[in-house]
Amino acid sequence: MKYLGLIWSALYRKPLRSFLTLASIFVAFLLFGLLQSVSVAFSEGVDFSGVDRLIIAPKYSIIDPLPEKHAMAISTIAGVELVSHRSWFGGVYQDTNQFFPRWPVPPESFLAMYPEYLLTEAEKAAFIQTRTGAIIGRPLAETYNLKLGDKIPLIGDIWPNKDNTAWEFDLVGIYDVADESVETDQMFMNFEFFDEYRQWSQGTVGNIVAKIKDPDDSAAIALEIDRLFANSSDETKTTTEKAYNQMFANQIGDIGLIMTSILSAVFFTILLLTGNTMAQAIRERIPELAILKTIGFSNTSVLMIVLCEALLIALVGSLPGLMLAAALLAKFSQSISVFNGVELSALIVAQGVGLALLMAVIVGLPPAVRAMRLNIVDALGDH
């Protein structure tokens, strides 16, 4: 790196232009980091799913009820370790714009099924014992300024209660999550209270979750479960949790795909333009490169100097851009719904760095080769 001084003076020749070039690369990679992450989340579903969990859903539509007693039958199947269930509450908190998913669940099996929701032992016990108990994620608690012991009133738009009044749940736990990809904007409440107090559909649930001992058996067990209820009035459709989430992601799908494909086109436009500016900066200095060769720099050295300059700009611009994208996603993954559970994966960082290197080579190589092959007399004569 003995030529670092030379490269530095090349960049410092027009500091403003170098700065602006760096800045556009920075912005391009910031966008890349953010949108590529969102895109992955859209197309593959946020991956908080366990490989060892199966979702047993109604065969014909998510709005059909499943009998709760299906859960009991499923738990007797060999290879099934644990069974729980959840139902969609819907509901309105404050006003319809304050939406977050709410699920009545049986607390004990729910906590065993999803160890990724972290609660203290006292909170766990309170959730299991409190009939009107509910837990929410920490970011939700912060958004609505809720503390343990607070009451959470919900209007049951799908499920009115027997008195036709607002539901009231007691906040008994605020959960953290084991890793950032787990969604935190959800509320879970005690199913037993919900089931007894709602006006209709007692004894039914939304879908059933089964934990299996060996993920390799999932296909066989899924078939067995569906066969168990075939030709009953409540047939089922069993998939892995990942496939189930994927199905939902696909339904939102189109939008994510369109957004990200527009944006990737634009990302490449920015790079193309920046590359153009970088190449121009090198072309302008060809007489100077001729002087370097005159005073004895070898052809390879000149090639390397020019290439290194391009690499330096590409990396110094792109790495902070990717870093800022990671930081923003980490900060907002919990609070902005588009970014919920989205994170900048190592793969995306690698893709970003790869693109930066590729850009440096594409932009730097032609003028570098030209500089290498430069005929000193001609180049100096141009001046």
Partner: protein
């Protein structure tokens, strides 16, 4: 020479030698075209979605749903309540028969054509009056279904979206086989994403003997919503409310529309920053390659202001070119592009992007602003260059 004249002369001179700086000028044009295309594309998605939902709502129609619910999906209206509501004031009537129909709104898992994945196809059970009330619905292919038969008609968007919806084919929904007998349009509204069948058969299939999801009513006039609402409230047996159809669909559109719109502006803003850096770069280098020329003009007695303005004008013209190009691309690629997503009731909504004139104007205004910002600093730098230093560059 007066200032105006000077501005004119210098600006013209700048523009005339633009072709010599083609490559670097393209940076501004293409960069800003990119920003404008993306902004318009994303916003046109929001507009199209909103238009599809709002298009379904009319001021003189009311949706009757259970008082606590806010969508047809989560609502239920018992049969006896429905019979009572038919007698209420405020409803439009033909020969004394009220224009009100009970409907059932459910979803069913059907595979999408695009990705072979199960998606929630909305399905509406309707009564004969439904066609009278929703008179924008027109059969465009085949015929209407016959009541009492397992026949269905599909909205054109649903037919495009879901596997097995072809005229004459049989579609298996919820274990029953339905004959596809017709396709309908409804002025591009959300109903085109639905499949319609005889309500009585659907209710029997679902074992929902207890009633409807909702009712749709034509009001005597748009002002009669209150009359109907008051009549419902006066009856203690009824747990229903009447919502103006236009308000109902506005509410359903709000969440997703504002999500997409916000996202669009955020992305466009970040990209705009990138484009400004590019524009600044271009204009600075345009100014620096012309520094001798500018200094000569100044030495000849031209004042700095025309120099500033000439650079600004050049930058704005390039930006406008970019804006126009971006709008044109957005219009030709995205206007009318059909996409689908999951709407407020989990059901699939298919909609067309709408690149409206308003959006294109907005894009042009943005490009103008970007050009202004991108040109401002370089133009000032050009005018403030000491003449003697710049001339020495010769």
């Amino acid at each position: 020479m007066n200032t105006l004249n000077q501005i004119f002369v210098i600006t013209l001179m700048n523009l005339r030698n633009l072709p010599a700086r083609k490559a670097s000028s393209m940076v501004i044009v293409v960069g800003i075209a990119g920003v404008v295309t993306v902004m318009i594309a994303i916003l046109s998605m929001a507009q199209g979605f909103e238009a599809t939902l709002r298009g379904a709502g009319q001021a003189d129609r009311a949706i009757v749903i259970r008082a606590g619910s806010d969508s047809e999906m989560g609502s239920s209206v018992p049969v006896d309540a429905a019979r009572l509501i038919e007698t209420m004031p405020g409803l439009a009537r033909i020969d004394g028969n009220p224009l009100v129909a009970g409907e059932t709104y459910v979803i069913a898992d059907i595979k999408k054509r695009a990705n072979d994945s199960d998606a929630n196809m909305p399905m509406r059970g309707v009564e004969p009056e439904s066609f009278e009330i929703r008179n924008e619905v027109k059969i465009v292919e085949g015929r209407n279904f016959q009541f009492g038969r397992f026949e269905l008609i599909a909205g054109v968007k649903a037919a495009n979206q879901f596997q097995g919806i072809e005229l004459g084919s049989q579609l298996s929904i919820r274990g029953a086989k339905w004959q596809v007998v017709g396709l309908f349009e409804s002025d591009g509204s959300i109903h085109e994403s639905e499949v319609w069948v005889d309500n009585a058969i659907l209710v029997a299939e679902l074992n929902r003997g207890w009633g409807y999801s909702s009712m749709i009513a034509r009001l005597d006039s748009a002002l009669d919503l209150e009359v109907l609402g008051n009549a419902m409230e006066a009856d203690p047996q009824l747990e229903t409310k009447a919502v103006r159809e236009s308000a109902y669909y506005n509410e359903q559109a709000t969440g997703i529309t504002s999500l997409i719109t916000n996202f669009g502006y955020w992305v466009a803003a970040i990209m705009a920053i990138g484009a400004i850096f590019g524009a600044l770069n271009t204009m600075y280098s345009a100014v620096s390659t012309r520094s001798v020329e500018i200094a000569t003009l100044r030495a000849l007695g031209f004042s700095p202001i025309p120099v500033v303005i000439s650079v600004l004008v050049e930058s704005i013209i390039l930006a406008l070119l970019g804006g126009a190009l971006g709008s044109a691309i957005a219009y030709s690629v995205f206007n009318g592009y059909t996409a689908s997503t999951m709407g407020a009731t989990f059901s699939q909504v298919s909609f067309d992007f709408a690149v409206t004139r308003g959006l294109m104007v907005q894009g042009i205004i943005w490009s103008c602003l970007l050009g202004l910002v991108g040109g401002l600093f370089p133009s000032v730098a050009a005018a403030r260059q000491p003449i003697t230093v710049a001339l020495r560059g010769l």
